[in-house]
Symmetry: C2
Subunit: 404 residues, 2 copies
């Protein structure tokens, strides 16, 4: 008789955003007359930039002719895209990353869920608290996290690094030594960042203790301050300890297009074995490449027209971020983030829990945000708002929240 | 100090098709004047059908306007596509499969690699021999296969079911009881099939011993004979023992578009736990949906125009299959497959091994096929040719092979 992966059964409840979706759908069904404004899931709302649309039309036409049809993509992704990434995201910032250290994928969520697979199941992970749920849940599924304590909302074998107001939402080096360290800056969900000097401390620490940093830089396009690093490879020594995950979802609006990449430097080794070769083997065995059309869309992100158009798109969302940040601060709320990130981290008022505030906002003013406690115990009493709505909706949502 | 997933290090050599690619590239680089004909990797060559191209252009335009822009897709995939699949692939054949039992993905390779993850690592798998390498390799990575015997090319904890000339390339019920049974019909690589009656025996067996059948029906569009099942759900009792994997790669030429789906009936349970809920949890946690544009392309596959155009495309490839099958048979080769599948299974002549014949064909007549031994020990001395080339290349390749 077959048996299940029992680790799946340890997972409490369903995936955070599925739960939110169900609550919102139920409310909407019961109150069809209400205009709900969604600043919850980090989904974008602006259409794809014209340069990207144009590139996709060209690629679609290529797929319709035998001479220009493209079947299976190369294992790591098309060179035209990997070269554009290496040049624009790395070499132009002085980071030494080669095109063949870049693995094209269908998004950072998949990569951040799958990357743990190339490590031993007895490795110990460290995560920020609060944290993007995929890092922890994918390790639960692999059996790496021990037992769940429903009271504290924590796993026995996970090292939690609280990111709270007292430390400026920046994690401190853990007391217990981890094997894998998940870091995400600019941070989801808090919108906080750390400086290049602070990140260098993490790189030095990882190299010292023999840990791998899994660095999620999905929000780097939103960085506005000069001392905030866009890539971990801006730090010395990162090539021997860090894997970087990148997404096209937030800088180019690809949440429904699906494109991302992972960088695994060839110097990153365990003994003689390069992690690059393991990730390549996973990619070659369990993945079959991002669509040609989508990879061409990714290339257009790096064209001159694409860059100019996307700079405007990011500015559009950051105007929202500033509106939320300043509007709620002026109204007396405790808020942070929103300067180098499209997320605003809001303290629930009147001693409410995160979910109480979620229900309160949904029911009283029909605004959807994300309960901070869904990201980990230190997120309790906090609330995430995203800047990815339309400007009009953002303004209306802030005005509504002010009135509660 | 972090440690690796040691199971990866057990994998012998690299992924089959990567090895072939490297050999062919090396030969091409050394002999730039030679015209190499590739009938190796099962990649299609015909352009996407006009109905699909049209649907993709419309969808691309939708993504360029705020009112019709699509961000994150629903967890299981868009309803328009799941409904089309449920109706056309299942209800129209009398199979009772609901739209919410269908999980849209970016292809059957990913699904067939990932599906093992929801099962216990001490489950025992049974595979046909020869077999599509992903089934075994993904289980090796999960630590489910024991130790590798380089001499025999087999894993200690895998049940092999030889598919050889003596049994018409159809597996027999294994002596040892498996927990997971991988079946692929029409078969890759042999091109063989089994009848509905034969498949019913497998379903009955799985229900009796408490095994799950992972049924890969990626090639069902090539079925020409009436008693060959298109879906395992044509068999009674399959809803309590079978997961079905489907692909758009071969019926619609989507190898570079990336779309597939997995069916997990809600009755398929281990105790009280439905596998449907585990796969949904995996999908929600580690995957983020197929691109909107690609799901619209998938919908077009089921339009009246799409169906008519794809029927022609399949007929085009099957003309190739018949040309290879008949041409090589007339020339005295031992061949099978090619009637309900786009693959022809060829016995290497003159006592050559599979790789000897591969090198021989590549060097003497510049034709690339796939060595049967790459699919498992019982594939040794066999060779797979695909019908996915152009007709002109197929004719030329067959003429060249005849002359060796």
């Amino acid at each position: 008789m077959f048996r299940l992966n029992e680790n799946y059964l340890k997972l409490p409840g369903s995936y955070l955003f599925s739960t939110i979706g169900k609550k919102v759908n139920a409310y909407a069904a019961a109150h069809p007359e209400k205009k709900i404004i969604r600043l919850g899931i980090g989904d974008v709302t602006q259409p794809l930039a014209p340069a990207i649309i144009e590139a996709m039309h060209v690629a679609v036409d290529e797929m319709g002719k035998a001479e220009t049809f493209h079947g299976y993509a190369p294992d790591l992704g098309y060179e035209f895209l990997r070269n554009a990434i290496a040049e624009n995201d790395y070499r132009s910032r002085g980071c030494e990353i080669a095109a063949d250290e870049i693995f094209i994928s269908d998004g950072a969520k998949c990569d951040s869920g799958n990357i743990q697979e190339i490590f031993s199941t007895d490795n110990k992970i460290a995560v920020c608290d609060p944290v993007y749920p995929v890092y922890v849940d994918s390790n639960v599924m692999a059996g790496r996290t021990g037992t769940y304590n429903a009271e504290t909302g924590t796993w026995s074998d996970v090292i939690y690094m609280p990111c709270v107001a007292e430390n400026g939402f920046a994690p401190e080096l853990p007391k217990e030594t981890p094997d894998l360290i998940y870091l995400c800056f600019p941070n989801n969900p808090t919108g906080a960042t750390i400086t290049r000097t602070q990140l260098q401390e993490w790189v030095d620490y990882a190299n010292k203790v023999g840990a791998v940093i899994i660095y999620d830089a999905a929000y780097e396009a939103y960085i506005s301050e000069a001392d905030v690093p866009h890539s971990i490879y801006e730090c010395e020594g990162a090539r021997t300890c860090a894997i970087e995950l990148r997404s096209f979802s937030k800088n180019a609006g690809f949440t429904g297009v699906r494109l991302g990449f992972t960088v695994v430097p060839k110097e990153l080794k365990c003994g003689d074995v390069a992690l690059h070769s393991l990730w390549a083997r996973r990619h070659g065995t369990k993945y079959n490449g991002a669509p040609y059309i989508v990879q061409r869309a990714g290339e257009a992100v790096y064209s001159e027209a694409g860059k100019a158009q996307l700079k405007e798109q990011v500015a559009y969302y950051m105007r929202n971020a500033h509106y939320i940040l300043n509007g709620l601060r002026d109204a007396g709320f405790t808020v942070s983030g929103g300067v180098n990130a499209p997320y605003i981290w809001l303290k629930a008022p009147k001693g409410m829990t995160s979910w109480e505030f979620f229900d309160h906002l949904l029911e009283k003013v029909n605004v959807v945000g994300t309960p901070g406690s869904g990201f980990g115990p230190s997120g309790e009493t906090y609330f995430r708002l995203t800047a990815f709505g339309s400007y009009e909706n953002t303004v209306e949502a802030v005005d509504r929240i002010k009135g509660i």
